[in-house]
């Protein structure tokens, strides 16, 4: 089992969050006496691996671990603890397990714990299946999961789709609850800024929760540890996740998929012997010192940095071997450096593997298409590019990424083209995607042009494509997309510059812009100390955006440390996947 991410360097004490989650997990396991089996929602195993080591399960008398599936639990153990997200499909499977046990006349104790909370809908399903009476129901109130010293996520996969397509705003309530829980631990955040409809909704629910809880718990009586909260609705900036991320971490995610802070790789890539087929799980977080250094760089620079490091190691090595009268401390110093060798090998392997993708002409031409679309100046060229990728039936999601870029940067497509592209998609990928297209339209990702296009104004006003951009020695966040500065992060910059509500530019973007001060709170203690800003992306955040924030925080004159929180760590691929509604594939 992988090590838990090291949280010691976090700007606020995030370890406390994880410790509480560990304690709660122990408590729910202990709530059922005796030996037990744990049946886990398969989607939870990743997030839980970030909370606790598997040894914790043993310590709390868990004999065996299973995953919720259609098959019955193969265990004679009398005590069964389920830990699941509140989803109807999971309830039906649990109900099926219990009914099977009943038919076999097995008397067992069942407890179902919902993460983060029980819901009426789930209980209704269990009731209709006739098993509710057999079950002890509980909650595992784990909201934010610490992914790294500056990254928290709720890991709610469908947040954006549910909010914008289904109108189901449950995730916003969860987010507000999560923030409330943070405030219980770190004090009430005195200053809130936000942009977008969902941001305003979260802020409303949040203030309502504060009103409902007039007696603040003792922790919030002290000075707040988080000075500012910035809420950004993903819908305000769909462009960024549609573009290919070009940071080291972003590219790993685009090509190899980072899940719950780790990537699974073929053993061959990691230089293993032929014959082993079991995938190697590589944790990717700041506990890996070299990764901490590399993750936020533009990939173009990563090779160089690795080469320099290798050269300097080689130099050290030759110094040690060639010189006779080395002092012991010099040798010790050298050996210490050797400890970095596994990390070097690991990242050289990964970087090399990535470059097999990045040098492909198809990738390069894709980047240039993206660039053209973001520039938004030559509609016809863009139109043809998108038409071509549809007609040659490139994978649907990568096609949709471009189509959405085209739509957003033109404030929607002209009616004729809108219908044309939709028809081409249905013809090329099947009529089952009618629902997918509806979803995209409902959520505003792919729309008909109805108003004047203001992308150029936004682009210029926010300097989304700055004239000068260097990937090697960046002076601006645009390096994360080699020339495009993520809109969302520009918004964060605006928020920090105190011209939030006045800015005309912000009005061009969808949704309300708001700001709110907590009157009861005193201002930050001193000017010299660093401040902490919690930036929350509602609907998901990409690794490239996180890198951009880290870059900002390291700039001279920036007094904020950032903590990024989100409903889900995303890239264009997995974000759009939630919008794909293929009725022929369900059940």
């Amino acid at each position: 089992m992988a090590q838990l991410p090291n949280l010691d360097n976090a700007p606020i004490n995030i370890s406390a969050l994880r410790e509480r989650a560990q304690k709660d997990l122990g408590a729910i396991l202990d709530s059922m006496r005796g030996k037990k089996v744990l049946v886990l929602d398969p989607q939870l195993s990743g997030p839980l691996a970030l909370i606790a080591q598997t040894s914790l399960l043993k310590e709390h008398a868990v004999e065996n671990l299973f995953y919720v599936s259609a098959d019955p639990v193969q265990s004679e153990c009398k005590n069964v603890v389920y830990l699941v997200r509140p989803q109807m499909a999971l309830m039906r499977q649990i109900a099926a397990h219990i009914q099977q046990d009943n038919q076999r006349q097995l008397q067992k104790n069942y407890a179902v714990f919902f993460m983060p909370r029980r819901t009426i809908v789930c209980e209704k399903v269990l009731e209709e299946e006739g098993v509710l009476a057999n079950i002890t129901i509980g909650e595992y109130p784990l909201y934010f999961i610490p992914f790294d010293e500056d990254v928290l996520s709720l890991e709610l996969d469908n947040s954006l789709k549910e909010c914008k397509v289904d109108g189901d705003t449950s995730s916003l309530w969860y987010l507000a609850r999560a923030i409330t829980k943070l405030q219980e631990m770190y004090g009430v955040i005195p200053h809130i800024q936000g942009k977008g409809k969902a941001a305003a909704q979260v802020s409303d629910i949040l203030s309502r929760m504060q009103r409902e809880q007039p007696r603040p718990p003792p922790a919030s009586a002290r000075l707040p540890e988080i000075d500012s909260l910035i809420l950004i609705d993903r819908q305000v900036d769909i462009v960024t996740p549609m573009c290919s991320q070009l940071t080291y971490e972003g590219l790993i995610d685009e090509f190899l998929q980072i899940n719950n802070g780790a990537v699974e790789l073929d053993p061959i890539i990691m230089g293993a012997q032929q014959g082993t087929t079991k995938k190697v799980k590589v944790p990717l977080n700041s506990s890996d010192k070299l990764y901490r250094e590399l993750r936020d760089l533009n990939f173009g620079v990563v090779g160089q940095v690795l080469r320099q490091k290798a050269t300097s190691m080689k130099q050290d090595y030759s110094d040690v071997t060639n010189t006779q009268n080395q002092s012991l401390s010099d040798v010790k110093e050298f050996v210490k450096k050797l400890n970095a060798l596994p990390e070097m090998t690991r990242h050289t392997n990964i970087a090399q593997h990535l470059s097999t993708f990045t040098t492909k002409p198809s990738f390069l031409s894709r980047l240039s298409v993206e660039q053209t679309l973001v520039e938004g100046q030559s509609y016809d060229v863009s139109y043809e590019c998108v038409e071509e990728v549809i007609q040659r039936q490139e994978p649907l999601i990568s096609v949709l990424r471009l189509l959405i870029l085209l739509s957003i940067t033109n404030n929607g497509l002209p009616k004729k083209h809108f219908d044309y592209f939709r028809r081409e998609v249905l013809h090329s990928y099947g009529f089952e995607h009618l629902f997918t297209l509806n979803n995209l339209e409902k959520s505003g990702l792919l729309t008909k042009q109805e108003m004047k296009n203001n992308w150029q104004l936004i682009k210029k006003g926010l300097k989304l494509v700055p004239e000068e951009s260097s990937d090697v020695n960046p002076t601006d966040i645009s390096y994360v997309f080699s020339g495009y500065a993520p809109l969302s992060i520009r918004l964060v910059q605006c928020a920090l510059q105190n011209d939030w509500r006045q800015s005309e530019l912000l009005r061009l973007l969808p949704g309300p812009t708001f700001e709110r001060f907590d009157k009861n709170q005193v201002g930050p203690a001193g000017d010299s100390s660093r401040l902490v800003a919690l930036v929350i992306f509602i609907g998901g955040v990409t690794f490239a955006e996180i890198s951009a924030l880290r870059f900002l925080s390291a700039q001279e004159g920036m007094k904020y440390d950032f903590i990024v929180a989100t409903t889900k760590l995303i890239n264009g691929q997995n974000l759009l996947k939630t919008f794909i509604d293929d009725p022929s594939a369900v059940h």
Partner: protein, 840 residues
């Protein structure tokens, strides 16, 4: 003064006892000897009722008995006519919740509160007990045991959960001499045990068994368990008082009285001494046979407390207790303890005598202990002047004492204020400090509240920094009950004014109470003050205001609450009404749709039609149609797609209802058309490979099967754009390796997509030779360079790149072919040449 205090103490072996008068009873003409009396512990109320088993002379009183309830100071709290059925009243007793239990001869148990109000929940010991008739009864804080006239035992061991049980049959011919109860909390088994004295022995009876303890100290005529449940005091027929352990294994002390008659009352005073009461005589016996006699010329009732015994007579309420150690150390005659010196020092100080300083110096080392003792002793006093003197002594000493914990002093002052407040005879709760600690402040507050002392309870809560919620909620509920004639708005104002004293108080609780009292309007008004939607919504729902509940749930943003409300509305309303309710509420509507889509498609279809959104219904139909495609495996070549087609066509029609959905309508029309065509193809080819593939895929499949006519037909029927058709055909032919056909196709006309796709298709199939045919046709040298590069033809690539004057491309080519140094050099030369030309 100090001398007089200790002079009133009685010494019993090595310890002192004192009996203080707490109240002069303010009742009039109460003669305890004529009444059954039940006194609650912890200074609780006293209930009396005329004892019908005694011959009494009625004076100026009604012939009908009355149940009277007094405070410990004799203040009448309530008086009700006693008219309960069930035969004779056998026994009365107070529970920990301060409700009065009256056990009747037929086994019925009536419960009264302080105010003489009969509780609606009536307990009964069951039919068998009813048949036998109750002979005797023991009531303790949480339960009761009765002995029937047939010598059977029945019990309600836990009043919280009032289940009557029958204990094991002890098979007695005669009624036992006496019996005692060991409460469940003191037994090893954790369940109730009853000791009954029979013959010369004692039987231990529980629910399942009867055990003879085989003792021969009996016959025992009276037994009482000590307050800690460890010892039993027994009075034997020959006038001996024995103290034994409850398992009878050890006799701890034995005392011979001069009376063969058993005492009327036998109670423990703390755990060190036992009180025996005969008419006109109270005898206290200590552990080593020492005793004290207190003569009484009037009847008394002994009320055991945790730290002593209250003695109630017609005139007085007294408290008999062992003198606390701190008090002894200060007031014992001739005491030179540091605390006594400190107390003395204060006296000198008040007299402006220098001896005060001398005293302080003498005890300097143990000053902190002395201060502590004075504070503690202050807490033990009922007399306020005495409390004050002791506290002043403590304060005086503390001034010379560096490291004394100052909170201790403040805590004591605060506790004493509370105690003095409740001891006032108007309130009449004579708690000692130990009793207060055992009872705890919240319970005291709850008791005050129950006796309608809301203001005092509120003040005490405030003073001790406890939540005022309990007091205010109780007050509000009582207020609502009492103010049935006050109009809603006025009552609301009165309530809200008080409730707002406590932020976060549950308005919903008060509203629920108003609702129960039939004040619907008031309940609704109160609910508007409740900030917690999670409290509002369920209550509104139970009040039948489902729609308003839904509105509140939506306002909260808590989707779970919204679902709660949706389901309730769904169940309670007619379908039409339900649809109307959710239609106007976007969040509720959307959540309903999400749920129904998965679980109730038929209801959803109806909903869409009822709100005039046929496109929604169309979507439901389409989803249903896709359900058929799941049985793909069972499909044998040419399954008919009839039902599926029908659904799709219906959906298409529904889409056509609204202008905005023309696209969807046409798309579904095409979908149906495609499905029909695919079905024909499957029948014609006998291959189940067409259904459920896209238009493009169908064309590709046809071409790769060589069925160009059908491909052409689809192209026409589905108006496939030229460009797309070219892409499809080029790749289909290449995949099928039909190179001649591909070449022929390339020559049909100038391809609308250029020759690049031809090159790509060939390269992808690994046919370099074929690819080269088309590379030369590429007009753009840049594209040519890329194509050559992909095929590994370095030299040609480099040439084309230099033709394209693209140094970036050259650089990239170099990095791709960098390992080959010869090629690398080639690129460098070319690039140099380029930059020269570019520069020149």
């Amino acid at each position: 003064m100090a001398i007089s205090i200790a002079a009133e103490w009685n010494e019993l072996y090595n310890r002192f006892y004192r009996k203080q008068e707490i109240y002069t009873m303010c009742w009039k003409n109460v003669d305890l000897s004529r009444h059954k009396v039940a006194c609650a512990r912890f200074g609780g109320p006293i209930a009396i009722i005329r004892d019908e088993s005694k011959m009494v002379q009625l004076r100026a009183e009604s012939a009908r008995a009355k149940l009277l309830i007094f405070s410990s100071s004799g203040k009448l709290l309530s008086s009700v006519a006693w008219d309960r059925p069930g035969g004779r009243l056998i026994s009365m007793g107070w529970t920990d919740e301060e409700s009065l239990l009256c056990v009747m001869h037929d086994g019925t148990v009536f419960q009264y509160n302080y105010r003489g109000e009969l509780s609606t929940s009536q307990l009964s010991l069951g039919q068998e007990c009813w048949d036998q008739g109750v002979a005797d009864c023991v009531i303790w804080g949480t339960g009761l045991v009765v002995l029937t006239e047939k010598n059977q035992l029945f019990s309600i061991p836990d009043l919280e959960n009032p289940q009557a049980i029958k204990l094991a049959d002890p098979h007695l011919e005669e009624p036992p001499h006496c019996f005692a109860v060991i409460e469940p909390q003191y037994t090893l088994s954790g369940s109730l045990e009853v000791l009954i004295a029979v013959g010369s022995t004692v039987l231990m009876v529980d629910a399942d068994s009867v055990q003879d303890q085989t003792v021969s100290i009996g016959p025992l005529q009276k037994m009482t368990l000590s307050p800690n449940g460890n010892f039993l005091a027994c009075f034997s027929h020959d006038g001996r008082l024995l103290v034994v352990t409850t398992d009878f294994s050890k006799t701890l002390s034995e005392f011979t009285t001069e009376s063969a008659l058993p005492p009327e009352q036998l109670v423990w005073c703390g755990v060190d001494s036992v009180l025996l009461y005969w008419e006109e005589m109270l005898l206290m016996v200590g552990p080593y046979g020492d005793f004290v006699k207190y003569p009484y010329d009037e009847p008394v009732v002994l009320i055991p407390e945790c730290d002593g015994v209250r003695v109630l007579s017609n005139m007085y309420m007294e408290f008999l207790q062992r003198v606390p150690d701190s008090t002894v150390s200060i007031f014992k005659i001739g005491s030179t303890s540091p605390a006594a010196m400190l107390y003395d020092a204060l006296d000198h100080f008040d007299k402006r005598s220098a001896k005060a300083d001398e005293n302080i110096r003498l005890i300097h080392d143990s000053l902190a202990d002395a201060v502590e003792d004075c504070i503690d002793a202050a807490g033990q006093e009922y007399d306020i002047a005495q409390q004050r003197t002791l506290l002043r002594a403590a304060a005086y000493g503390r001034a010379f004492c560096r490291k004394f914990h100052r909170d201790r002093f403040q805590d004591m002052c605060r506790t004493l204020r509370v105690l003095n407040a409740v001891r006032q005879f108007e309130i009449g709760i004579p708690l000692s400090i130990q009793q207060f600690k055992e009872l705890t402040a919240p319970v005291l507050i709850a008791r005050l509240v129950n006796s309608h002392r809301h203001l005092l309870a509120l003040r005490i809560s405030e003073y001790l920094d406890l939540s005022k919620e309990v007091v205010l909620l109780h007050w509000s509920c009582e207020k609502i009950k009492a103010a049935s004639d006050v109009p809603d708005p006025a009552l609301l104002d009165v309530l809200v004014e008080k409730l707002k004293l406590c932020p976060g108080i549950s308005y919903a609780t008060v509203a629920a109470d108003a609702h129960q009292n039939g004040r619907q309007k008031l309940a609704a008004l109160l609910l508007d003050y409740e900030p917690r939607a999670s409290e509002q919504v369920p209550l509104l729902t139970s009040m039948g205001e489902e729609e308003r509940a839904l509105v509140k749930a939506i306002e909260s943003g808590d989707t779970d609450l919204v679902y709660f409300s949706i389901f309730h509305n769904w169940r309670q309303q007619t379908v039409t009404e339900f649809f109307r309710i959710i239609q106007g509420k976007p969040l509720a509507r959307d959540l309903f749709i999400s749920y129904a889509r998965q679980n109730e498609p038929e209801v959803l279809k109806k909903f869409y039609m009822s709100i005039g959104q046929p496109q929604g219904a169309a979507e439901v139909l389409l989803r249903e149609s896709w359900g058929y495609s799941q049985n793909l495996e069972q499909r044998s070549g040419s399954a008919l797609q009839g039902p599926r087609l029908k659904l799709i066509e219906q959906a298409s029609e529904l889409y056509a209802h609204t202008k905005e959905h023309t696209f969807e309508s046409k798309a579904t029309e095409e979908q149906a058309k495609l499905l029909k065509l695919q079905q024909e193809l499957e029948i014609a080819t006998g291959q189940p490979i067409f259904v459920d593939s896209s238009v493009s895929d169908t064309i590709r499949t046809c071409i790769s099967l060589g069925n160009h006519r059908t491909a052409q037909r689809i192209r026409v029927e589905f108006k496939v754009p030229d460009k797309r058709f070219y892409w499809l055909k080029v790749f289909a032919l290449a995949t099928a390796k039909q190179w001649d056909a591909l070449e022929k196709f390339s020559k049909e006309k100038k391809p609308p997509i250029g020759f690049k796709p031809f090159v790509e298709a060939c390269i992808e199939e690994g046919a370099t030779e074929e690819a080269l045919k088309y590379v030369i046709k590429l007009s753009d040298p840049h594209e040519r360079a890329e194509a050559y590069a992909r095929m590994g033809m370095v030299k040609e690539a480099a040439e084309a790149a230099s033709q394209a004057k693209d140094s970036e491309l050259l650089g990239r080519l170099k990095s791709t072919f960098g390992q080959n140094t010869a090629a690398g050099a080639l690129f460098d030369t070319l690039r140099d040449r380029l930059s020269l030309t570019g520069g020149g």
